[in-house]
Symmetry: C2
Subunit: 246 residues, 2 copies
């Protein structure tokens, strides 16, 4: 555990995600040794991080916390997909992010969580109690820096999303979504879409019908191939890239 280990994590859909560096621990529910904090840290820090983290398994659909809950913990995903969302009182929902293995859940929450986090698939998470993590951050500057960097990336992504939500057309939104998903799978040509059309719609600020129609249109135009509803193959990356509007 002292070297910069490379650990492979089984994604829920069978695809394997490789993550480099960082501490890891054995998942109680699936037994796989998972990465818990990304980035390379020295041995002492690694041990410290491991000492305050506890790996937990959650079932599909399980809620980690709800918008407004007092902040008790931060999680790092080792397996599965987590959905972050905000709701309006009348039930309209905006999904603010899909988180994958390696991503943090709850970073940057101070008093209360600003969104709800749910496991979209069975998942394994490293749980860090907030007070212990705060203490660790104070003791190990490298960790604070890591988390700060992660938050900066998050802010950046959020702004990109605002541009998408506010100014892109339905087709551009869906194309952007497909391209970014593909990136998550290492630029693979064919990849699984773990979320339902309704989830995609709530992520892109559309209706599920519009998402479905747009995907069908992409298929008609030879941009993609819907192998199955949840398995997509990109046929013409270049043209799809052009359609993102970016």
């Amino acid at each position: 555990m002292s070297d910069r280990s490379e650990v492979s994590v089984a994604a829920p859909d069978g695809v394997v995600t490789a993550v480099k560096g960082g501490p890891s621990s054995r998942c109680h529910s699936c037994g796989v040794r998972h990465v818990t904090i990304c980035g390379v840290v020295d041995d002492t820090v690694l041990k410290a991080v491991e000492s305050i983290s506890r790996t937990i398994g959650v079932e599909q659909g399980e809620t980690l916390f709800v918008e407004g809950d007092p902040v008790t913990a931060v999680y790092n995903i080792t397996r599965g997909i987590v959905r972050l969302s905000k709701m309006l009182p009348d039930g309209r929902r905006q999904i603010t992010g899909f988180l994958f293995p390696g991503d943090f859940v709850g970073l940057g929450a101070r008093m209360a969580y600003g969104y709800t986090a749910e496991a979209m698939t069975a998942a394994c998470l490293c749980r860090f109690e907030k007070p212990r993590l705060d203490k660790l951050m104070r003791e190990h500057r490298e960790i604070e820096d890591q988390l700060l960097a992660l938050m900066e990336k998050e802010v950046d992504l959020a702004q990109e999303r605002m541009l998408l939500l506010g100014r892109k057309t339905a087709a551009e939104k869906v194309a952007s979504f497909l391209m970014s998903l593909s990136e998550r799978f290492d630029g693979a040509e064919t990849f699984p879409v773990a979320m339902t059309r309704a989830d995609i719609a709530d992520y892109l600020g559309l209706t599920l019908e519009t998402v479905s129609r747009t995907l069908s249109a992409f298929q008609r135009d030879g941009l993609i191939s819907l192998e199955r509803a949840h398995m997509i193959r990109l046929l013409d990356r270049t043209r799809l890239e052009d359609m993102t509007g970016t």
Copy 2:
């Protein structure tokens, strides 16, 4: 300067914004003593911050930096309003934020700025060279904590905005905008709207015509009174609040 001073900052439109605590310095362009970093810090830190900040004045319309520029500095606004925006290649624009006195510009940018920052009004800014600020953050933990807290708030706001952009109707967007603007002016009943209809539209993901129509409709319904195009009076806060959808 050793006590926790309260400093009043003249906003561009004549309204006075009070900000408590933090270091301050005299603005070269307007001569007013401005707050430069919010939050309370001790004497040593205060002096250190002051030593690396330089107050600058910018004219209306001036660009601080453009999306993609390498990050050289972070700014704190002491006077005026700054507009942050992202553009699509074809010219569509999304304004990601309007920043007021006390707000930071460029926090959380690592290598390149992710958005363009322009002064919407004549403005005064405290400029912190990035390397010197980073050094100071490393030396004074309190500062890093302050900035971290600010970033957390930013993430929260960004997510609230996603909900607005993705799921709210035009009327709800405009109502939300008015309520949050009113907050900025301490809940005042009548307050200036410094931005044009086009700016508001690009902020809310609408067209300027829709913004104009919605404001007119609000006036017809007795919710607001458009004293002038850029001066709004809230007539029925309760009903307006209900219209925000939140």
